[in-house]
Symmetry: C2
Subunit: 285 residues, 2 copies
Amino acid sequence: MDRMKDQWFAEDHTGAIEPKYTHTHWKIKRTLFTGQSPFQKLDFFESYDHGILFALDGLIMTSERDEFIYHEMLTHVPLFTHPGPKKVLVIGGGDCGALREILKHPAVDNIHLCEIDKMVVEKCEEIFPYVKEVLNNPRIEAFYEDGFDFLKRNTNIYDIILVDSTDPVGEALKLFGVPFLGLCHQALAADGMMVMQCGSPFYQTQFIKDLQSDMMSVFPLSQIYTASVHSYPGGYWGFITGSKKYDPLNDFQADKYEDLNFMYYNDKIHKAAFALPSYFVKQDS
Amino acid sequence: MDRMKDQWFAEDHTGAIEPKYTHTHWKIKRTLFTGQSPFQKLDFFESYDHGILFALDGLIMTSERDEFIYHEMLTHVPLFTHPGPKKVLVIGGGDCGALREILKHPAVDNIHLCEIDKMVVEKCEEIFPYVKEVLNNPRIEAFYEDGFDFLKRNTNIYDIILVDSTDPVGEALKLFGVPFLGLCHQALAADGMMVMQCGSPFYQTQFIKDLQSDMMSVFPLSQIYTASVHSYPGGYWGFITGSKKYDPLNDFQADKYEDLNFMYYNDKIHKAAFALPSYFVKQDS
């Protein structure tokens, strides 16, 4: 094949993202949209192998073929840990994949989306088939504003907060600091819990260790779990919990578990996701 | 960065390997060796992010930075399942990473390597620091011949057979068929078990399902387990067991488990590795 004539997309890791010199290249059929919002650069491509790719500032956010893995694992682990979640907040997550997963739980009656970049939601609604139906669901309410400002107005409300952010570089870095975690703690109900994506346990081991220290300065319980997200660097991704009361292993609601048309998540995966490699467990934080 | 001046290595997936149009590109400091054996093309590169890369016929076999994950998971899962493994055979595995891991088990007194391509072993000995010490260990004996011929001469001998092959294309494809599995069965002792790498559960779902059907036509027990191998496509890799007696979950030797300087494997990972994604469990075989 003549690579010079083909169109390929590769992530730009020239910032702080590891690995710097190892990139996935995706062969592209066509570009669906490229544009700049007030906050970031948006790209949508149609790829040969992974359906539509969605990138922010040159970093893959989701690929259509495997986004279910990331979104199911972000969502269902806390939703099958908390015994009665009613109000859930998603910060970031403008592609609405996490919202789609939360909607599978009939007992959740109030779902807020706080996404700073309205253009992300608008373009995802144009491009991804599932988004319009999700946004039209009366259980969902969207707020287009900064997560800090939104959290400051909302105290002791949510059962679960999901932080579905971009990588911890630039503006998004502030979503990984103690001030933000403290605001999440404050916005959660007395038995609430939060989950955020936290990068690669293999490539960002020390970053995640430090983040867990921060999390444990705010919450009494914090754990790391993982999933195989093929479109992210190394194909292995971490999620971190911060919880006031419930432990995702001890409090897993096994009796309430049912298969809500999951493609990745299941009860065995729930428990297995918390087994961490020795290199991660052994490394001093 | 000027990509045209930099030297990069990417796998060639123009054969039967999925994904065809999604490749990891590795920035290379220098080429350490390129040559053709009677069986295949050998390449060794020094990369920026992953240490030395070793490729056969254009497909990554190991990267120095994460080969421990693949080799530990191939080896220690069966070695902590069988209650008293003494004799172990590795078919393929000329990079000697599996041998290095088996040597960590003091009770194994006899380890055979059957590698068709002597040049692989010789070049790995020149290039990877750990290989010479492994090959000098008196518990190890190497045979440079075809795996079929070797197995035909050896009946009812081994406690464990590890098949550490290249991808199932070309010559290596025959290592994934019933005739080969039957010879392994015959070479195993009455309570023996085998493990082989079997590709990506995400990209080769149907191939692995079919392989498991074949395995169960030969062995009474067969299971799939997985590991996050970052240098393989999608970062998620499968292993398949064929066993005459022992089940890796029910017969896990928890009382014998000890940390033999593992960097990935541990007792929690052993059990978690058998939890499979819903898309895999649900798909009809």
